[in-house]
Structure formats: C-alpha cells, structure tokens
C-alpha cells in the first residue's frame, strides 16, 4: 500500500476536500475556542451536504403529500419523488430492478426484516447461520434470536491477528447445515473489507444464501449487488450523507416473493377481509404504513451527490487519507491500532496506553476533534480483542490531512495530560 506523507499533498487533494467541505454547512462550525470542527465519527453517522437538505426541504415545502394513495398533485409528486429515489438508489447498487429495493429505517431494520420474514419462515431445527467475529450487533443479535426460536444455531467464524477473516476456519464452518451466511462487507471496528464476492460464492456452492451488511461499505466503496451475487444486502442512509431514519434492504425478487411480510398495515396489503388478508406486490409488501418519504428523497439526493463526486475518486481519496492516518498514528508511541487488513476502509480503532478510550475521546472533543469510544456495538469482537472498549477515528470524503494532523496533536496532548505526575 503506498503511503503519502504530508509533504505530498497533490494526489490527496484530487477530490479537493476544500471544495467538498463547502457543501457541508455543519463543517463550518467553529467552537467557542476558535477551533474548527474536525468530524471523525463518520462510521457512527455522517454530515449532510446542502443538496440533501435542499431535497428534503423541497419535498416538505412543495410536495408534502402521502404516497401511493391519492390522485391529487401533492400526492402524485410525492409518489414520483419517492419512486424516483428508489430507482436511483437501485442503480447506485446495481440492483436489477426496483422490485428488489425495500425502504427500511436503517440497516438494523433490514436485518430484522430478513430475520422475521425469511429466517423464522424457512429455518429448521439444526440449521445454522454463519456470521463472523467482526459483526456489528445488528447483524448478530437478530440471528441469535431467530435461531433460538427455530432451534437453529449461530456459528461465528473467527478473525486472524491482523483483523482479517480466518478463511480456513470459515471454510471449515461452512457445512451443508448452514442456510445463511451473514457477513459484513466492511468492519465498523477493524476497517477490514471482507472478500464478500468470494464468501458469497462459497455460500452458494453449498446451497446457502448470503446476506451482506453494507452499512460501512455503501458509503465508501463502489457496490454492485449483481457482481457480488448477494441474496440480501442492507445499509443505512445516515452513514452515507443521507437523512436519519431511512435505509434500504436489497433482496432477490424471488426471495421477497417467497418471504412472509414483516410489518403489516396500510400500503402493504392487497385485500383485507374480516378473517384474512392478501399482500401487495413487492416491494410494497414490505413497506407497511406511511414510509419515510422525505428520508427516501434525501437518500436519493445523497446518492446523486456521491455519484457526482465520483465513487472511484471518493474511494481513492479515502484510501490515501487512510494510509496517511495509519502512518501518522502508527508513529505515536503508546498507541496500538486494532486491524491491519490490507483491504480496508477509513475506520481506525486504537488504544492509547494508560488512557481510557472515553477519556481519549473526551479530550479530543475539547480540541474540536470528534471521535468515538466504547464497545462500538461489537461486544463479541471486544471480547476477542480482549479490550473493554476502544477509541475510533473514521474518515469520510470531506476529511483531509489537516484533520488527521489535528487528531494526532490531540492524542499527543492527551498523553501528556493524563500521564503527567
């Protein structure tokens, strides 16, 4: 991996973070102490470009009707905007049709939808679900619960020292009892990008289905569900420049058709009788009630924004910046980085000797640098790494080397502050 130092900024500026930053009103924030906000908690949630805020504002101020139900203009406009967003997001992830695109309120709801609508219907006693040690709770606890209910078992493929998946162990665990492989595309702790296309092919080879947690990949990597051959894939809008409360579950049409509905109520029915009901076509079958219309429209605008910047350029910028950050952080004595996968995203978790992660994050915050600390919604992984908690800095397209420099300064100051006697 080539590493750029601060002396070679030309390549890193290819995306021009300065220009990009100007699109994000939140990044203008200056704290009382004259420090510019350095936002490095992007794996938790991202800032929003003006284009996204504008798109949702326009819906509310001009076309705030409900969707699918009424013939008046506001409702027609709302429906058009909502369905156009579905179409653009489908294109963004290479989905063959909008029929396979279910709007959810986030990645978490996507996994639960599959756990309720697919796993509880099709899993049998003795069946297995194979996950990895680096899963986020949202791609773990739903399977635990579904498995418990069905008498099935969740198996956990371990990771290696460098934070990559143990492929040998994975292959060993992938027996014909496995009916679903649920694996994250990119880890929100280690930054590891998993070879999901290969893992999916292996799953299919033994007749299992494969689900991809794309919460940390959709914002950062070019993504093509057909190239991956994924059966299910879910992500959240708020982690990719979009509004809160919206996400997407992609699933093969045949699977959506075979699955039971999950939430029931308006929109998702065809006919309702006193003693039974029939379901609408997919994807409406899985969208009960009034959807988050403004959220879908905002996510559509976010996806447009990402495509306008160019996803390859975004990826390149983040890779260079990540390399820079790894080098600078690696130089700090007493700092230990968790996760050294060669294929990775800009999520960097670390421990600072003798300073608790919460104190690290608190101290950074006081210098205007926002990072995260805690179990990072991955307690099984914390047990594996044998740490109570970690600090995490996570990068996005509007970050640049000066942000990393500010982080490094803050960490050095924290060491001085807490270690002084």
């Amino acid at each position: 991996m080539s590493v750029l130092t601060s002396k070679e900024p030309a390549e890193i500026q290819a995306l021009s973070p300065q220009t990009v930053r100007a699109d994000f009103p939140a990044l203008d924030r200056i704290f009382a102490d004259q420090q510019r906000l350095v936002y490095l908690d992007n794996a938790a949630t991202t800032q929003k470009p003006r284009a996204v805020l504008e798109a949702t504002r326009r819906y509310y101020e001009e076309s705030a009707g409900n969707v699918h139900r009424a013939v008046h203009r506001l409702a027609a406009e709302a429906t058009e905007l909502y369905e156009a967003a579905r179409q653009r997001i489908a294109k963004f992830i290479g989905a063959p049709s909008t029929r396979s695109m279910v709007f959810t309120h986030g990645a978490t709801e996507g996994f639960n939808l599959v756990a309720y609508g697919w796993a509880r219907k099709f899993l049998k006693a003795g069946d297995e679900i194979l996950v990895t040690e680096m899963e986020h709770h949202s791609n773990f606890v739903p399977w635990q619960r579904a498995a418990q209910e069905r008498g099935a078992v969740v198996r956990i493929a371990p990771i290696l020292e460098d934070g990559t998946l143990d492929r040998v162990a994975f292959a060993r665990l992938l027996t014909p009892r496995v009916k679903l492989v649920a694996v994250t595309h990119a880890s929100n702790v280690l930054g590891t990008v998993n070879p999901v296309a290969e893992l999916i092919a292996a799953a299919h080879a033994i007749g299992a289905l494969a689900l991809v947690d794309a919460a940390q990949s959709a914002p950062h990597l070019p993504l093509d569900v057909r190239a991956l051959d994924a059966d299910f894939l879910a992500f959240s809008g708020h982690k990719m420049l979009g509004p809160t409360g919206i996400g997407v579950l992609y699933a093969r049409e045949t699977l959506l058709e075979a699955m039971d509905p999950f939430l029931t109520g308006g929109e998702m029915i065809s006919k309702v009788f006193d003693d039974h009901a029939t379901w609408a076509d997919i994807p409406q079958k899985f969208e009960a009630g009034t959807p988050h219309i403004a959220g879908a429209i905002g996510l559509g605008a976010a996806v447009d924004y990402l495509e306008r910047l160019g996803r390859e350029r975004v990826r390149q910028h983040e890779q260079q910046l990540t390399a820079y950050a790894l080098e600078r952080l690696g130089d700090l004595p007493g700092l230990r980085i968790f996760g050294r996968a060669p294929e990775r995203v800009g999520v960097i978790s670390f421990a600072l000797d003798g300073v608790h992660p919460h104190d690290v994050a608190q101290f950074c915050d006081q210098t205007g640098v926002a990072i995260r600390a805690g179990h990072l919604c991955a307690q099984p992984l914390m047990h594996r790494l044998d740490v109570p908690a970690l600090s995490r800095a996570s990068l996005y397209l509007y970050n640049a080397t000066d942000d990393v420099d500010r982080l490094v300064e803050a960490l050095q100051a924290a060491q001085r502050f807490f270690h002084a006697t």
């Binding site: 992660p357 919460h358 104190d359 608190q362 006081q366």
Partner: protein, 144 residues
C-alpha cells in the same frame, strides 16, 4: 464547557493514585458491576462495625472520571456511620443530576466532580461507583 471543569487537578490526582483500591478475591467481593457501554468495571468489598462502614476496598478498571469518583468516594465514606454514607450517596447523585442539595459542602474533594454534570454523556461514569456502593450497603444490611 472547559476541559478543566471536567478533569480538575484533584480528579487527575485520584485517577493516577487511587485510594482504597485493591485486587479483590471473589469470596470477599460484595458487588460486581459493569457498564457495558464503555467497559467500566467495578468490584467492592466492605464490612460493618456496628453502624459504621469499614474496610471498604475497591477494584476498578475504568475511565478517569469513574476511577477518581470511586477513589474519592472510598475516602469520603470509609469509617463513616451508614446513615452518613447514605446521605452522601443521595447528595452526590443529586449534584450529578444537576440539582443543588443543601448539604453539598460536606462532600469535600468530591465537589470537584460537580463539573461532570455539564457532560451528560459522562454522568454515568461518575455515578456508577455510587450505585455500586448503594448495593454494598444493601448487601451488608441483608447479611446483618
């Protein structure tokens, strides 16, 4: 909100040199509590001598706020009558809730933790040892 409000010198001192801390055997541990969110972990042992709380020992891995709070608490309540301990717990928790109880001045060094109330995400770090101490009193009074 200044960082110094949070990490006052006296807090850092208790963090670096915690009082009444010890490695506890399982069989003497009365309370074992964990904050899964940040991994803070606290264990306590103590005895009753008549109406007094004695031999309070704390084992704690946590952030500076949690550690200092535990250390200052141990210092403040050791060898105190149980009724006084209870009232200190109440007073302290009230302060951290942002209230201003009348007897705040009998807290000594602990008033340094008052600044934590300004940092809502850290309040739990400071209060966790005190909730654990409450549980200790509970255990001791049941055992009596």
């Amino acid at each position: 909100m200044q960082l110094d409000d949070l990490y006052q010198e006296v807090i850092l001192d208790h963090y670096r040199h915690p009082r009444h801390f010890a490695a506890l055997r399982d069989d003497e541990t009365l309370v074992d509590e964990e904050n899964p969110l940040c991994g803070d972990h606290i264990r306590m042992a103590a005895k009753l001598a008549g109406e007094r709380l004695t031999d309070l020992r704390v084992q704690c891995t946590g952030c500076a706020i949690c550690t200092a709070s535990a250390s200052m608490m141990a210092e403040a309540v050791s060898d105190q009558p149980v009724s006084a301990v209870r009232s200190k717990i109440e007073t302290f928790l009230a302060i951290l809730r942002g209230e201003q109880p009348p007897q705040a001045d009998d807290l000594g060094d602990l008033v340094a933790l008052r600044g934590v109330a300004e940092f809502p995400m850290r309040v739990k770090c400071a209060t966790m040892p005190w909730h654990a101490l409450s549980a200790v009193l509970q255990r001791l009074s049941v055992a009596k």
